[in-house]
Each structure stands twice: as structure tokens, then as C-alpha cells.
């Protein structure tokens, strides 16, 4: 109760202080510094109006500068010094030390996996959910239920999924859904259908979409359109897509060759490599609702005439969706994708709560937390924070660029 009281007092002081600042600073400006009366009233009003924006902006600028802008540069500086050696400048030593650690590369590899899988899966599911729920009468309820995980904390979601992934001995009743389902498979035809054919089919679908998008991106460059830089970018995207297709095909092969341990309950979170995907599912589960809400609004914004024209021309629902609707909401898809990418780069709570980076599930944000509080190595922690900043910066530049373009 004491804490509650303290909170209440602070709200009153904080809010009162804010309101007081804005009110009295304006009063002081208008009454005492540049009073709107006397011989040069007009001049004074103009002067006051030049200063007023800064009165309104001052708290925000101070807070933003101190809590966001300054730390970026301070972290950069800290990443070049060694605290134990009396804050001496050590050049890239922190970065070198970080790069020599296998844990860092593990975190980098996992982060790349997260960056590919989570935005792709969340956007795809969101698009699917948006398209499906817009067509039915109880769509609003369905949307609301799919959107609900957005309100659940990452920690709460971690507990929820830990229960899903829970494992008991083979002779006991499984209380985790995933193991309960897993124990139903015994290696027969059903297992082949659901555990080999279906995943292989899904991965092939993914590979086909990647190949198609890659082709769309690369084709103009092959025809010789655009400048040198855009050509280079397109070719880079094409190479990335080809790599993803290769990985997908290889994993399809792997699925058919693999020998699954049927009948044994699995500790899903301790299976190296695959446990990353079980962690990603948590974030996909949370972010799909976000993608769905935004994409559903975009889908509803598509002009009816374009769809009617396609229907008259005899397009089937799939053609309408992929060839008419998706291209028109492409810019929104990009926005959703980048927003989820930002969330992924900062993902900390899920890994921290579920595995804490054990069993090869480390990610950059958790690696940084680890260095900061467990190893107490501020230099390497700063260096890894700068790596996160580096990964974010293309999105930062892009956002500023588009925002400025929109304002003109």
C-alpha cells in the first residue's frame, strides 16, 4: 500500500509539475519578459511568439536528448574504452574481443534467423488472417481474438508457451500440448503425412514465394533498367533469395531423410537449432495480430473497381488476392515487415525468460544484457549494443527518408 501511495503522490507531483511548468512559463513570458502592452506591444507579442514554441518543446527535447540521443553517442564512446584500465581508449579491442567469442557469433546467427523467420511468418499469417476475417460475418470477433496476444507481455507469453512445450516422462501423461500431440505419432502413415509431407509442402511453398519475389526484384535489373546502385541492390536481393531457396530445398531433403525419435517426449527448448524456432513461435504468435490489423485496414482501402474488373475478367480468388490485392498493399506490407523487424532486433524478454540463451539460443539483446550484468563488461556490452544499432540504422535512414518525402 505504501508503494501505491507513493505512486499517487508522484502522479500528482509529476503531472502538477508538468502542467505548472507549461502554464507558468507562458505566464512569465507574456506578463514579465515580453508584456503585450506598453509602447512596443506588437514587437513584444512577436518576440514572445518566437520563443513560445521552445517553451512547449523544451521538456520533450530535453528528455529525448538526454534519454535517447545522448546515449547513442555515449555508447559509441564507451565501446572504445576499457573501464578496468582507467577508461583508457582501446580502439577496437572491445569489438575484437566480442568477435572472438563463439557466443557472439551464435547470437548473430540466431538473430539473422529471427530476422528472416519472424517478420515473414507474422506478416504471412497476418495477411492470411486479414484476408479471411474480412470475408465473414463474425470477422470482428475473430480479429479481436487473434489480436489479443498483443496485450500479453513477452514474459506472460513465455509462461504460456513453456506450458505448451512442457515435457514429462514417457510413462506419464503429457501436460504440454506439443508433447501430447507428438506422442500420438508412432511412425506410421499419419506421421509421414503430418510430419514429413506437410512441413515439406509448407517449406516448398515458402521457397516458391521467395523465388517468385526474387524473380520480380531481379527481372528489371536483367532487362537493364535502373542505375548502377539499384542494379547492385536488386542483384543482392536476388542472391539472398537464391540462398533462401537453397536452404529451403536442403531442409526439405533433410526432413525426408531425418529419423524422428517417435514415442519419446521431447524437451523442445533444449534441442539445439530447432529450439530457436520454438522461441520464434512465441513472437510470431504475438505479432500476427499487429500485422493483421494493419493489413486488414490496407485491404479495405483497396478500390473496389480494381477487384470488380478482375472478377469480370474471370480471375479466381487466388489470382485476385495475389495479383490484384497484394501489389496494391505492398507499401503497407513493407511497413509491417520493418516494424516487426525492429521488434525482433530488440527481442530480449522471450529468450531471457525461456532459455536465457542456453542451448544455443542466444540473441544479441540478451547477449548484451549478459555482458552488462553478469560479466560486468561494459566495453563489450556497448560494442554489442552498437551492433544492434548498426542493424537498425538502414531502417532508421529509410524511415527518415520516407517521412521527409511525405512532408513535402
Amino acid at each position: 500500500m505504501e508503494a501505491a501511495l507513493l505512486g499517487l503522490v508522484t502522479i500528482i507531483i509529476g503531472v502538477g509539475g508538468c502542467v505548472g511548468y507549461f502554464y507558468f512559463s507562458n505566464v512569465v513570458l507574456d506578463r514579465f519578459i515580453y508584456p503585450a502592452e506598453g509602447p512596443n506591444a506588437g514587437h513584444n507579442i512577436n518576440r514572445a511568439n518566437q520563443i513560445r514554441p521552445w517553451l512547449f518543446l523544451f521538456p520533450a527535447i530535453a528528455a529525448l536528448g538526454l534519454y535517447l540521443a545522448y546515449p547513442v553517442f555515449e555508447t559509441l564512446r564507451l565501446s572504445f574504452i576499457d573501464r578496468d584500465a582507467g577508461n583508457a581508449f582501446v580502439g577496437f579491442a572491445n569489438y575484437q574481443q566480442m568477435m572472438s567469442e563463439p557466443k557472439f557469433w551464435e547470437a548473430m546467427r540466431n538473430n539473422m534467423l529471427w530476422l528472416i523467420v519472424v517478420p515473414a511468418a507474422a506478416t504471412a499469417f497476418g495477411l492470411l488472417a486479414a484476408q479471411l476475417t474480412d470475408r465473414i460475418s463474425w470477422g470482428a470477433v475473430a480479429k479481436s481474438l487473434i489480436f489479443m496476444p498483443m496485450a500479453i507481455s513477452f514474459v506472460g507469453a513465455s509462461v504460456i508457451f513453456k506450458l505448451v512445450y512442457d515435457a514429462r516422462g514417457a510413462d506419464q501423461n503429457q501436460i504440454g500440448v506439443l508433447n501430447a500431440v507428438w506422442m500420438q505419432f508412432e511412425g506410421g502413415a499419419g506421421s509421414f503425412l503430418f510430419l514429413k509431407l506437410l512441413p515439406a509442402f509448407l517449406i516448398l511453398c515458402f521457397a516458391a514465394i521467395v523465388a517468385y519475389v526474387g524473380y520480380l526484384v531481379v527481372a528489371p535489373a536483367l532487362r537493364g533498367a535502373g542505375g548502377g546502385l539499384s542494379k547492385l541492390l536488386r542483384v543482392l536481393v536476388g542472391v539472398g533469395a537464391a540462398w533462401l531457396v537453397f536452404i529451403s530445398l536442403r531442409s526439405v531433403f533433410g526432413i525426408f531423410v531425418a529419423d524422428f525419435p517417435y514415442g519419446e517426449p521431447q524437451q523442445w527448448l533444449t534441442l539445439p537449432f530447432y529450439n530457436n524456432f520454438f522461441l520464434m513461435i512465441v513472437l510470431v504468435w504475438i505479432q500476427t495480430g499487429f500485422a493483421m490489423v494493419i493489413l486488414s485496414a490496407a485491404l479495405r482501402g483497396i478500390p473496389e473497381e480494381t477487384i470488380e474488373a478482375a472478377v469480370i475478367d474471370g480471375a479466381n480468388p487466388f489470382q485476385i488476392f495475389f495479383k490484384i490485392k497484394v501489389p496494391q498493399i505492398m507499401s503497407t506490407i513493407v511497413v509491417v515487415w520493418t516494424t516487426i523487424t525492429l521488434t525482433v532486433l530488440k527481442v530480449f524478454d522471450i529468450v531471457f525468460a525461456m532459455t536465457n540463451g542456453q542451448w544455443e539460443t542466444q540473441v544479441l539483446a540478451n547477449y548484451m544484457f549478459d555482458k552488462l550484468f553478469r560479466a560486468n563488461d561494459w566495453g563489450v556490452a556497448s560494442a554489442s549494443a552498437m551492433v544492434i544499432m548498426l542493424l537498425v540504422s538502414p531502417i532508421l535512414v529509410w524511415n527518415v527518408y520516407t517521412a521527409r518525402k511525405e512532408m513535402r
Partner: protein, 383 residues
């Protein structure tokens, strides 16, 4: 025509079924936690939560009532009668035993021979009759091991443990109030600061405005991780260390870019005439802001308030770095749940209830103010 109609209805069936599947897939995990929080520890470990509504087979250990007080002398034989189940429980016994090494050797209705004339009779409804001589029927009650199918039973006991009677880590009340202490000021203060700044950026002319807006868009994506070390040092340096003040300031700073961005975008869209007219009538900027802009911007303010509330309420990282000190007196719910995951990893009745207590408030806010949340999302995603 008929063919087209037929295709359409079959497609609509497919859509309906897919949506049902999708929705079930999405709420299934949360439902599991919710149902588990109403089950006892024994029930949770005996069967999956999806069978909570069905009768479950359980192994129970019961003890006959105190023989010295309850035995009846029947012609030289002493008999203790009772029921291993409490009143009102209608369980069905499938097998039982009197030793922990052989818990299922007798069928209900059998009489177990305990040696030297001592016997135990257990009926299918849990009624027992324990008889023997004066010496045998004394001391502690005989243990009975039962395999029984008990009807589904839900309890609110976990909630009373977590909220009221639990001790130490199991009690979330303190953490709940701590979370609210963090959340409410950290939601209200940035709104105020951002509203003034957004007004200035939307409706006041001054040099450097475009640059400031670009800077705010840039700060929108700066990862939190960069701010941790410099701000820890800063808080140490100005002497506030770890505590509520630090966490409020941090949340304010981290929430401001989105707040300013959302509110500015909304305020720019307000009709120019109203503001110009008010200016002509001699209203000052402060008056225009308080009397016209703030009331009109209510939807945007509400959107951001929900965002900031959910984000600060659900946050773990900022609280761990800027608030929770070694004493642990100021722990928040998310941090306490992570601790519970470490120490009580197998006690799902505690974990599930604690987690559900912590997500109940956001869910409530979510379902009651979803309209504003959606509106904010649509305005806030950088296009």
C-alpha cells in the same frame, strides 16, 4: 449461375472453417494457462489441461481417521468406519492397496488382509471398514492408496494464494502495486510533455521544425539497448541510482518519440479554421492548446495512453535495469514471474496463476479500449 453460387458457398465454408482453426490455434495456448490456473497441483500433473472438463484418473493417498478416538468396540473387535473422500465428492475407485509398494492389488469391495487378523475393507464409493484387535486399531490411522477417477473440479485456491495468503515469492500483491506505481506516472507524464511538443510541431512556425520532426522519426527506431549503460551511469551520477524516479524518467524518454509522432500526425489533421479563428479572437497558444486541441485530440491521446500503458506494464528490461535493486523490494510482476520460472519451474499452479494475474489487467484494457488501440496502430506505423 447455379455452379457459381455453389462454388461461392463452398468457398465461404472453407473460409469459415479456416478462420475457426486459426482462432482456435491462437487462443489455445492462453486458454491452457487460464484453465491451469484453476486446477490443483495434483490435477495439473495428472493430466493435460484440455482434459480438465473430463473426469481424471488420479493416484491418491488417504489415511483412516484417528483410531483411538473413533474406534467402535464390536464384540471384542475394534472397528473404524469412515470415507476416504470428503462429503460431496463422488469419485470412483478402480483399484487400491495398503502399501506404497503395491498400490493397486485390490479391487473395490475386496477385503485386504493386513496380517494377524487385521483387515481393511474398501468399497467403490470410498467407504472403508478397518478392523482388528485392541492393539492393531490404535496409534495412527492406516494408510490407503487409491487409484480413483475423480470428477473435474476447479478451484480458486491458487488465486487466493497468489493474491493474499502466499508468502515471499508466491505473493504477487506487492509486485502488482509496484507495477502500477511504475506504470501510471510513466503513462501520464509522457502524454503531457508530448502533447505540448506535438502542438508546437504541428501548429507553430519556427526555424528548425522540419529537422526536429526528422530527428523524432529517427529516434523512433533507436533500440533501447543503447540507452542502458549511459543512463545507468547518468542516474548514478545525479544520485537517484535505482528507483522509481529513474524508471519513470526512462519510460518517459523511451515513450516520447512515438507519443510526439502519433500526436503530431493527429493534430496536423485538425481543421485549420478552428485554430485560426481562435487566434483572431485573441486566444493565446496556451489557451488554444488546452481548450481546443486537447479535447479534439482525445482519440490520439487515448491510443498513445493504451500503448504506453501496455508497454510499461509489460516491460521487463527497463524495470530490471533501472528499478530493481539488490533488496528486491521494488520488483515488478514480470520480473517476479521470471524468478518464479527459475525457482518454481515445475509448479504450474503457481506459475499459471501468477502469469494470469499479471496479464489480466492488460487483457481488460485491451478488450475495453481495442478501438483506440487499433486506431493508434494504424496512425503510428511509419508509412
Amino acid at each position: 449461375m447455379a455452379a457459381t453460387a455453389g462454388r461461392k458457398s463452398s468457398l465461404s465454408w472453407a473460409v469459415n472453417i479456416s478462420v475457426v482453426a486459426l482462432v482456435l490455434l491462437w487462443i489455445f495456448p492462453t486458454l491452457g494457462l487460464f484453465v491451469s490456473s484453476f486446477r490443483t497441483a495434483d490435477q495439473i500433473s495428472a493430466s493435460g489441461w484440455w482434459s480438465a472438463m473430463l473426469p481424471a484418473e488420479q493416484n491418491l493417498v488417504a489415511r483412516a481417521i484417528d483410531p483411538d478416538e473413533n474406534r467402535v468396540d464390536e464384540n471384542g473387535r475394534f472397528v473404524v468406519r469412515g470415507n476416504i473422500f470428503e462429503d460431496g465428492v463422488s469419485a470412483e475407485i478402480s483399484a487400491w492397496g495398503v502399501s506404497s509398494r503395491a498400490i493397486d492389488i485390490y479391487q473395490p469391495g475386496d477385503t485386504a488382509d493386513l496380517g494377524e487378523g487385521e483387515t481393511m475393507l474398501l468399497g467403490p464409493d470410498g467407504a472403508y471398514e478397518w478392523s482388528g484387535n485392541d492393539d492393531q486399531i490404535s496409534g495412527r490411522g492406516q494408510r490407503i492408496f487409491v487409484t480413483a477417477t475423480t470428477p473435474p473440479e476447479l478451484t480458486t485456491e491458487n488465486y487466493s494464494t497468489i493474491l493474499f495468503s502466499g508468502s515471499g515469492q508466491d505473493n504477487m500483491t506487492k509486485a502488482f502495486f509496484n507495477t502500477l506505481t511504475v506504470t501510471i506516472p510513466a503513462t501520464v507524464i509522457p502524454i503531457l510533455i508530448a502533447a505540448f511538443a506535438a502542438y508546437a510541431l504541428a501548429w507553430m512556425e519556427f526555424p528548425g521544425r522540419a529537422l526536429l520532426i526528422a530527428a523524432i522519426v529517427a529516434l523512433l527506431v533507436v533500440p533501447l539497448q543503447l540507452a542502458l549503460i549511459p543512463l545507468l551511469r547518468f542516474h548514478e551520477w545525479i544520485g537517484i541510482g535505482k528507483g522509481y524516479l529513474g524508471v519513470w524518467l526512462a519510460h518517459t524518454g523511451f515513450g516520447l518519440p512515438l507519443a510526439i509522432y502519433l500526436l503530431r500526425n493527429y493534430m496536423v489533421g485538425l481543421p485549420r479554421d478552428i485554430i485560426e479563428n481562435a487566434r483572431v479572437d485573441g486566444a493565446t497558444d496556451f489557451q488554444i492548446f488546452v481548450k481546443i486541441i486537447l479535447p479534439l485530440s482525445f482519440p490520439a491521446l487515448a491510443s498513445f495512453a493504451i500503448f504506453q500503458f501496455l508497454w510499461t506494464y509489460n516491460d521487463l528490461l527497463v524495470a530490471r535495469v533501472f528499478l530493481i535493486d539488490a533488496t528486491g523490494q521494488t520488483t515488478v510482476m514480470t520480473a517476479q514471474i521470471v524468478e518464479l520460472l527459475g525457482t518454481r519451474g515445475g509448479n504450474w499452479e503457481i506459475l499459471a496463476t501468477a502469469a494470469f494475474v499479471s496479464i489480466a489487467v492488460p487483457l481488460l484494457v485491451f478488450f475495453s479500449m481495442q478501438k483506440y488501440l487499433v486506431r493508434g496502430l494504424l496512425a503510428g506505423s511509419v508509412k
